[in-house]
Each structure stands twice: as C-alpha cells, then as structure tokens.
Amino acid sequence: MSAVADRYPELQELGVEVISVSVDSHFVHKMWNDNELSKMVEGGIPFQMASDQNGAVGRAYGVWDESSGVEMRGRFIIDPDGVIQAIEILTPPVGRRIAETIRQIQAFQLVRESGGTRATPAGWMPGDPVLEPGPDLVGRVWEVWNPRMEK
C-alpha cells in the first residue's frame, strides 16, 4: 500500500480518492502505518485504511478468500457515478503496479470526458493518439495504430 501512498499526490490531482481494505482492525492499521509504512513513505499512509474484520466488504466485491479468511489482492477503479470500470485480482504473493492503475484511470477519464466518443488503444499512454470508433474506422485501425507503438 505504500506504493499507492507514494503516488497519492498524483492521484489527487486526477481527482481520485483511495480506500484500502483488509481484515485487520483499525488498531492494527495504525500500528502498521506508524511502525512500518511511515518508514517507506514520508508522512505515512495519506488515505483511509478501512477494516473489514468479518469480510463483508470483501464478499460483496468477490475478493473474500473463505479458506484463508483474508481478502485477495483486488483492485477496483470506480467512476464518479459509482460504476466499476476496472477490476484486477491477484493472489497474495504478487504485488500490483500502481503506474498501470494510474494509466488506466487516465484512459477511463479521457473516455468519460469524451462522452464515450473516444477509445484508447492497447498500450495507450497520455498524449498518444486515441481512436474515434465509428463506421469510418472499421478496417482502418491499422492506419492509426499498430502494436509497435506500444512502449
């Protein structure tokens, strides 16, 4: 979670609020923040660390692991209408990449601001060309995009 905390100023600039969730109590969140995470990121965790001790939130999102009694590593991007736009779920041993999450948020924001008239191709980064889906684009994506453009 310190990786997300480190990029929190950037997320705030994008108008994104962050909530982290685990089955630990808010008391344990305090101990983890104060004793370890605050040594990884200056000032500690700047967002709300939520406690889901009975797994109710995790169950609602399909990330509750019944056998081990913890949450899987689930990441949800939720838009201003409360609609889930992206889901990523990993098993515990592999960490996320926050840069990819930020890239996806920027892409979803672009699409939303265009009123759904734009789409972002594979590997799109801010500043790269976007697609304008419509009859004129059918069979002609190759003219504006190809896999070698992905950095």
């Binding site: 808010h26 305090k30 370890e36 999102y61």
Partner: protein, 47 residues
C-alpha cells in the same frame, strides 16, 4: 457473490484509521469522485 465491470459498486461502511484518527468510511462519501479501492491480504505481510 461478486461484481463485474459496468455494474454499480456495492456501498459499504467500515471502520478506518486515517492520518492519526479512528473513524469510518462509506463508499458513498466519495460519490461524484473517482475511487481507487484496494484490497490486500493483511497488514505486516511482505508484498
């Protein structure tokens, strides 16, 4: 149980630790904003 993309995110209420204070959060507190919701297996785990 579970959710899919394109669906409404389930609202929830949970106890929180936030910048030195105990409190609570509802997802709906942040209606009108983008929200990044991150679950993880546990505090003091290694990843």
């Amino acid at each position: 149980m579970g959710v899919r993309v394109g669906q409404q995110a389930p609202d929830f209420t949970a106890a929180t630790y936030h910048r030195g204070e105990f409190g609570s959060v509802n997802l709906s507190d942040h209606a009108g904003k983008w929200v990044l919701l991150c679950f993880y297996p546990g505090d003091f785990t290694f990843v």
